[in-house]
């Protein structure tokens, strides 16, 4: 006799990463934890451990825990995005960052006995924490509500980078993976050369965008409605107040920390679209941004501390999707580890090129028309990597066609 086994009741979807996202709130606390523990113990070990932890530790965890390829079911995405918990934990990072920044700059200004290398370790880890802040400002800056966007401005201003929300949303997203975009790196371009294009290019693009908007509103460029001015109205009193209270000792501290913070963003921009390009259509427009126009990383450890920023392919194809619902897709350009490890590789250009150039060529099928080249190096790179001018046709995929592909990805 055979017993009929009842079909199991359908289990409701549960987001396994729901509480793990709290790591994105806790991770920036590593920056002030170092000076705090040093003051408790007198051991300079604490001034270094979190800096090493951010870059080497997270990379080691990426290698240990590997990739998370899971996607939330598309039917659950509206519920995930409406769940205010995910929003509130992004807000919770704002006071963490302000506290960490003030704690560390005051620590440096009041501890003149520190050896220069210990000073450098604390300043660097604080700048890295501002990198977490730029990441938070990125997530909040994509939101439509007034309060999210003001939290973004408040956070970005900590690193004197209030123009980022304008530049990123209305500049970079629009022109991403094109030769015209100062925030998309080119094959053969090292990060230091890229920084000379990206840092001023991003600022002036943001200024021009706000200047055009002010003109339409019939207002001066220097109007308080200009979001770049709004950012300066937070940054200038903050920085000037710290210098006025603590004296000139604060100047190099703030300069170095703000520089390292913005350089973390430059580093992210450098690795996110390296060499990838959207091709021009017959009508003169660029093909629509698709997931394969960004490098993706599914590494779980680093993704959990950066609010899924590394699922960058979905983010650029669908910029208004919230971090908790970003997806992986098959056949994406894939980074070998998460951003922390890739940043270190980028800082040593020969290592970066040896890691990434062949991956780029594989990702685009050796097709020169799909590569954003550093112009002066194009011929040399084509010869070295066997890249061909095959001029494969550009598919101007419609949104509906892409939705079909993405549904297939969901089922994969």
């Amino acid at each position: 006799m055979t017993a009929t086994i009842p079909a199991p009741a359908e289990t409701p979807y549960r987001d396994r990463k729901r509480y793990a996202w709290l790591l994105s709130v806790i991770a920036p606390l590593g920056a002030p934890a170092g000076p705090f523990l040093y003051m408790q113990t007198g051991d300079t070990f604490w001034l270094w451990v979190f800096l090493v932890g951010f870059y080497l530790g997270t990379t080691a965890l990426d290698l240990l825990f590997g990739e998370d390829l899971s996607n939330p079911p598309e039917s659950e995405v509206p519920r995930l995005e409406a769940d205010q918990y995910y929003r509130y934990i992004t807000w919770a990072v704002v006071p963490v960052l302000w506290f960490g920044f003030l704690y560390n700059v005051i620590f440096l200004a009041t501890h003149p006995e520190l050896a220069w290398y210990h000073w450098l370790a604390v300043a660097t880890v604080t700048g890295s924490m501002l990198g977490f802040g730029l990441n938070l400002g990125h997530e909040l800056g994509h939101k439509k509500s007034w309060i999210d966007r003001k939290f973004a401005l408040f956070t970005l201003s900590l690193g004197f980078y209030g123009h980022f929300a304008v530049e990123h949303n209305r500049g970079h997203h629009r022109h991403v993976a094109t030769p015209e975009d100062p925030a998309s790196s080119r094959m053969g371009e090292n990060i230091y050369r890229f920084a000379t294009r990206e840092l001023p290019g991003g600022f002036f693009r943001a200024w021009d965008l706000e200047s055009e908007r002010m003109e339409r509103l019939g207002k001066s460029d220097w109007s308080l409605d200009n979001e770049i001015i709004q950012g300066w109205l937070i940054s200038v009193p903050l920085y000037a107040g710290l210098v006025a209270y603590y004296g000139s000792v604060m100047v190099p501290i703030l300069l170095f920390i703000a520089f390292w913070g913005m350089f973390q963003l430059t580093s992210a921009n450098y690795i996110e679209h390296y060499g990838l390009v959207r091709r021009k259509l017959a009508n003169g427009r660029y093909e629509q941004c698709q997931p394969h126009h960004s490098w993706n990383s599914n590494h779980i450890a680093s993704n959990l501390v950066v609010f899924h920023l590394q699922r960058h392919s979905d983010h650029h194809a669908h910029p208004t999707r919230a971090y908790q619902s970003l997806r992986d897709f098959p056949e994406l350009p894939r980074l070998p580890v998460g951003y922390f490890g890739m940043f270190m590789a980028a800082y040593v250009p020969p290592l970066w090129f040896s890691l990434m150039n062949h991956r780029l060529v594989e990702a685009v099928g050796g097709d020169a028309s799909r590569i954003n080249f550093e112009p002066a190096k194009k011929a040399r790179l084509m010869k070295r990597y066997g890249i061909r001018d095959v001029a494969s046709p550009v598919a101007n995929t419609t949104t509906r066609e892409r939705a079909a592909v993405e549904q297939a990805a969901e089922g994969a």
Partner: protein, 63 residues
């Protein structure tokens, strides 16, 4: 007066209300927006991609 929708994120440009933030006063026709107009919410779709809402059955966005 018509409404036009971004096919990526669902943003709607309503000619009746214009877009005060972007500096387009009420009554500004979609056709009169600059040629390089693009979606102020997602930035990945341009003016020619917008869909006149009267012409679509379901305005839900296929994200």
């Amino acid at each position: 007066m018509s409404r036009y929708q971004c096919p990526e994120c669902g943003f709607v440009y309503d000619e009746k209300t214009g877009d005060a933030y972007q500096g387009y006063p009420p009554g500004t026709r979609f056709a009169d927006l600059p040629d390089d107009y693009n979606c102020p919410d997602c930035s990945v779709r341009d003016k020619p991609d917008f869909v006149k809402l009267d012409d679509v059955d379901a305005p839900a966005s296929p994200r």
